[in-house]
C-alpha cells in the first residue's frame, strides 16, 4: 500500500498492524508477510538558487540526479544502484557512497524530513533551510534508522555544485601518502595493492593534482568492483587489514581510505549497542509496528 501521495496525511499507516517501509529494495530484502508501504515519488520543489530540493521519498535517485544535473547541481546521495534506489531508501539505510571523503556522510545531507510515525501521524523533523538548530536533530536520528522510527515520506536535501571535472586515476602507491599529498580528494580507494583516486573540481586544479600523483598513476574508467559487504572500521585499522589480507588470513577488500568503510566478501559481525538505542526505538515505536529492515 502506498502512502497518500498528495496530502501526505499519513493515513496509509492508520491501524496498528506491522508494516515495513520499502524503496527500491536495493539494500535489503523486506521480511515476508509484512505489509509493505511505499513513499510517493516526485520532485515537489526545486529552486537552484536555493541549492536545496524538496522531494518525495519514493523518488528514484537517478531521476533526481538528472533533474539536478540540468542545473549543474547534485545531491551527495551515491547509491550503488541509482536507477532503482529511492531517495528515502538511501537515507533510511544511511549508507554513504564512494565520495564520502569529500562530501561527507549521508546524514549531513538531510535538512527536513516528513515521516509517518508508528501512530500513523505525519511528523516533521528539521526545516527546509541549509542551517538549522531549531529543536532536536531528528533528521540525523532518522538517517540510517532503517525505517524503525518512522516511514520517510518527503524530504528536503542539501545540494552541491557539480564539479566541472571528475577524473578517476589508478596506480600502485601508498594510499595514505596519496591522501596526505592531495587537498580533499573525492575518493581514495585501496585494495591492498592498487590505489584509485577520484579528483574533482576546476579542470586545471584536477590536472595539477593528477600530475602531483606522479607517473605511476594512469586514468581509470572508474572505481574497482567492490565485494558486497560493508564494514565500518577505523581508518587507522586499514594497514593491519591489508597486512592480514596479503598474508592470506583475510579475503579481498576495497577500502575507502580516510573514511574507514571497507567493502569485503563477508558481512561484519553484529556489534553491540548501548541500551539507550533500544529506549529510543521503544519511545518512537512502542508497539513494534516497524519491522527491522
Amino acid at each position: 500500500m502506498d502512502l497518500n501521495g498528495d496530502d501526505l496525511s499519513g493515513d496509509g499507516l492508520s491501524g496498528d498492524d506491522p508494516v515495513v517501509a520499502v524503496g527500491g529494495c536495493t539494500q535489503f530484502t523486506p521480511p515476508a508477510g509484512v505489509r509493505q508501504v511505499r513513499a510517493p515519488a516526485g520532485i515537489v520543489a526545486y529552486e537552484p538558487a536555493e541549492m536545496t530540493v524538496r522531494v518525495r521519498a519514493g523518488t528514484v535517485v537517478a531521476e533526481l540526479a538528472e533533474a539536478l544535473a540540468a542545473h549543474g547541481q547534485m545531491a551527495a546521495l551515491d547509491p550503488a544502484v541509482p536507477d532503482a534506489a529511492t531517495v528515502g531508501g538511501v537515507l533510511a539505510a544511511g549508507e554513504s557512497g564512494l565520495r564520502r571523503l569529500r562530501y561527507g556522510p549521508v546524514r549531513d545531507t538531510l535538512l527536513e524530513a516528513r515521516f509517518v510515525s508508528a501512530e500513523g501521524r505525519m511528523v516533521k523533523a528539521g526545516g527546509p533551510v541549509v542551517k538549522n538548530v531549531s529543536g532536536f536533530d531528528l533528521c540525523r536520528l532518522l538517517v540510517g534508522s532503517r525505517g524503525t522510527l518512522g516511514v520517510l515520506a518527503e524530504v528536503v536535501v542539501r545540494l552541491q555544485p557539480r564539479p566541472a571535472v571528475s577524473r578517476w586515476l589508478m596506480g600502485a602507491a601508498d594510499p595514505f601518502a596519496v591522501r596526505r599529498r592531495l587537498y580533499r580528494p573525492s575518493s581514495v580507494l585501496w585494495d591492498g595493492e592498487i590505489t584509485w583516486v577520484l579528483l574533482e573540481g576546476h579542470p586545471s586544479d584536477v590536472s595539477a593534482e593528477a600530475s602531483a600523483l606522479g607517473r605511476g598513476f594512469v586514468d581509470a574508467v572508474g572505481p574497482p568492483p567492490r565485494p558486497p559487504h560493508r564494514w565500518s572500521m577505523r581508518p587507522s585499522a586499514l594497514p593491519a587489514l591489508a597486512a592480514s589480507a596479503s598474508a592470506g588470513l583475510d579475503g579481498a577488500f576495497v577500502a575507502e581510505v580516510g573514511v574507514g568503510t571497507v567493502h569485503r566478501d563477508r558481512p561484519q559481525p553484529v556489534r553491540p549497542v548501548d541500551p539507550l538505542h533500544e529506549r529510543v526505538r521503544a519511545l518512537f515505536d512502542p508497539g513494534r509496528r516497524f519491522a527491522a529492515a
Binding site: 516533521k124 533551510v129 529543536g135 536533530d137 540525523r140 587537498y183 580533499r184 575507502e256 538505542h277 529510543v280
Partner: protein, 473 residues
C-alpha cells in the same frame, strides 16, 4: 541553598570547587543572552568521574543540573533555573590526543574552539566550525549548540565535525555516542546529542574531525549602495553555482561600529558590505573570485576589494567576528535573533525586518551569514529606557513570525534555549514536538538535565513542565 546538597558535592569534589556564596552564584545566573535565572550551586569538576559523581549527587537530591562552558550562549541555554547545580567545564580544558594521520582530536569539553585550531595549525589542520565567539567558546558548548560560524557555509556545522562523544547521561551513567569508524552501529545518537543544548547529558570527551587548511584562500570585501543589492548578490552567487567558504553581510550601522574598533578599512558610507571568502585549490579559487566579482558588480557593488595578504584577511575577519561585541558603542543592550530563511527570500525578509524595527521605533542592524540565509537581526537598545523591553519583545516576535512566514526556521546556530522555546509551535506541530520530546525522554526520562529548555511546556502529552517565572528580565 540546600546545605546538604552542597556538603555532598564537597564530598565528591572539594571545597574550592563547590561555590555557594551568593555574589558568585549571581555571576552564573546568565550567559551572553539577556535572560537571567538562579543558580543553586556552581561546581567545577576536573574529570569524567567527577562529572558522574556530581550528576549522581544532584540526582539524589532531586536538583536539576545545567552544563556550562564559557557562557557565551545567546539563547539562555546555560541559564540555570530554580537553583540548579551548574556544572562548569572550564577546568576540563585539555586536548587529550591529536591523531595527525586520522585527522582526529580528542578533547575535553572545556577546550576553547580557537585553542584547538591553534594547536593543530602546525600540522596544516584546523577545527572548521568557527562561531564568532570562537576565541572564547568551548568545544563542549559547540557540541551542545551545534554551533555554526561563517565558514560552515562550505564546511558544515559542528555536527559534521564531531565523530564521537563520551557522555555522562542524566542518570550518572557513562556512554559513548558515535565512534571513529564511519558507521557506528545503531542510531546516530551522536547526531541526536549534538545540538541538544545540554538536555541529554554532559559531554566529557569529544572526538572532533580536523580539516586540512586550504592551499589557497581569497577574501573579498564588496560594498553596496543598497541592502537590497547586497542581498540580491548573495542569491546571485549561489545561483551561479558557487559555494563560497563564507559569505557574510553587514549593514551600514554595524559596519561603522566595527570599523571604529578594528580600523580595517570597512567602507563606512556603504549601505551594506559582503565579506566573501573562497578557498580550495588555486585555479578554482581564482575562477570563483572572478565570478563573484562579476556577480557583485552586476548587483551594483561600488568596489570589490580582495585582501592583499593574511594580515588584511585576519583584520577583516576580526571585524566581522567582533560585530556583536561592538554594539555597546551604539547602545548598551542588544537582542539578537538568529532566524534562517530560504536564501532566495533574503531581500524580501530583510525589507520586512527593517520595517518592523522602524514601526517600533527601535534601532535595528543586521550582520549575518548571508550565504546560509542565516539572519541575525539585532535590536540595540538601552534597557534603562522606560518601556523599551516591551517594544523589543514585540518587534522580536514580529521578526520571527516574518521569517517563519517566509519558510524560515527559528534558529540557525544559537539554539532555542529559553529564548525561543515558546516560539517552537510556530514551526512545529504538537506531533512534531512530541517526537522531539520522545528523543529527549530516552536520554533523560526524569527531566533533570537542563530542564525547561528547548521544548515548550507540554511538548509531550501529560507533560507538566511549567514556565519558569521571572526568567525574562
Amino acid at each position: 541553598m540546600d546545605e546538604r546538597l552542597a556538603a555532598d558535592l564537597v564530598a565528591v569534589l572539594d571545597k574550592r570547587r563547590v561555590r555557594v556564596e551568593s555574589l558568585e552564584l549571581a555571576l552564573y545566573a546568565r550567559d551572553a543572552s539577556v535572560i537571567e535565572g538562579r543558580a543553586g550551586v556552581v561546581v567545577f569538576p576536573n574529570s569524567t568521574d567527577e562529572v558522574q559523581a556530581v550528576v549522581r549527587v544532584a540526582r539524589a537530591h532531586g536538583v536539576p543540573i545545567v552544563p556550562r562552558g564559557s557562557g557565551t550562549g545567546l539563547a539562555g541555554g546555560s541559564v540555570p533555573l530554580d537553583g540548579a547545580v551548574v556544572i562548569v567545564t572550564t577546568h576540563m580544558d585539555r586536548i587529550l590526543e591529536i591523531d595527525e594521520e586520522e585527522r582526529v582530536a580528542w578533547v575535553q569539553p572545556g577546550v576553547l574552539n580557537l585553542d584547538l585550531s591553534r594547536a593543530v595549525a602546525h600540522l596544516g589542520l584546523h577545527f572548521a566550525p568557527d562561531p564568532s565567539s570562537q576565541q572564547s567558546c568551548t568545544i563542549g558548548g559547540n557540541v551542545a549548540n551545534n554551533s555554526g560560524g561563517p565558514h560552515c557555509l562550505a564546511y558544515g556545522v559542528t555536527s559534521a565535525h564531531v565523530l564521537a562523544v563520551e557522555v555522562v547521561l542524566p542518570d550518572g551513567s557513562l556512554t559513548m555516542l558515535g565512534g571513529l569508524d564511519p558507521d557506528p552501529p545503531g542510531y546516530d545518537l551522536r547526531g541526536a546529542f549534538v545540538g541538544s543544548e545540554g538536555t541529554m547529558g554532559i559531554a566529557t570527551r569529544i572526538a572532533v574531525r580536523l580539516t586540512p587548511l586550504p592551499p589557497a584562500v581569497r577574501t573579498m570585501l564588496a560594498d553596496f549602495p543598497t541592502v537590497e543589492g547586497a542581498a540580491a548578490a548573495v542569491s546571485g552567487i549561489i545561483a551561479a553555482g558557487i559555494l563560497p567558504a563564507a559569505l557574510e553581510m553587514m549593514d551600514a550601522e554595524i559596519t561603522r561600529a566595527v570599523e571604529a574598533y578594528v580600523h580595517a578599512g570597512f567602507p563606512t558610507d556603504a549601505a551594506a558590505v559582503l565579506l566573501v571568502e573562497v578557498d580550495g585549490l588555486p585555479d578554482g579559487v581564482d575562477a570563483a573570485t572572478v565570478q563573484i566579482d562579476e556577480v557583485c558588480r552586476d548587483h551594483g557593488a561600488r568596489h570589490v576589494r580582495v585582501a592583499a595578504d593574511l594580515a588584511e584577511r585576519a583584520l577583516l575577519w576580526k571585524g566581522r567576528k567582533s560585530a556583536f561585541g561592538a554594539i555597546a558603542r551604539i547602545a548598551p543592550n542588544y537582542y539578537l535573533h538568529d532566524a534562517v530563511v530560504p536564501r532566495t527570500r533574503l531581500v524580501e525578509v530583510l525589507t520586512k525586518v527593517y520595517e518592523i524595527a522602524e514601526r517600533h521605533s527601535l534601532v535595528m542592524m543586521n550582520v549575518f551569514h548571508a550565504g546560509d540565509g542565516n539572519l541575525h537581526p539585532l535590536i540595540v537598545f538601552d534597557r534603562r529606557v522606560e518601556g523599551v523591553m516591551e517594544r523589543v519583545h514585540a518587534a522580536g516576535t514580529e521578526i520571527i513570525e516574518a521569517c517563519v512566514a517566509a519558510g524560515g526556521v527559528l534558529s540557525g546556530e544559537h539554539g532555542i534555549g529559553l529564548e525561543k522555546r515558546d516560539f517552537m509551535h510556530l514551526i512545529f506541530s504538537p506531533d512534531d514536538l512530541d517526537a522531539q520530546a520522545r528523543l529527549r525522554e530516552a536520554f533523560d526520562p526524569n527531566g533533570t538535565c537542563n530542564p525547561q529548555k528547548v521544548l515548550p511546556a507540554g511538548a509531550r502529552c501529560g507533560d507538566l513542565q511549567r514556565i519558569p517565572e521571572g526568567a525574562w528580565i
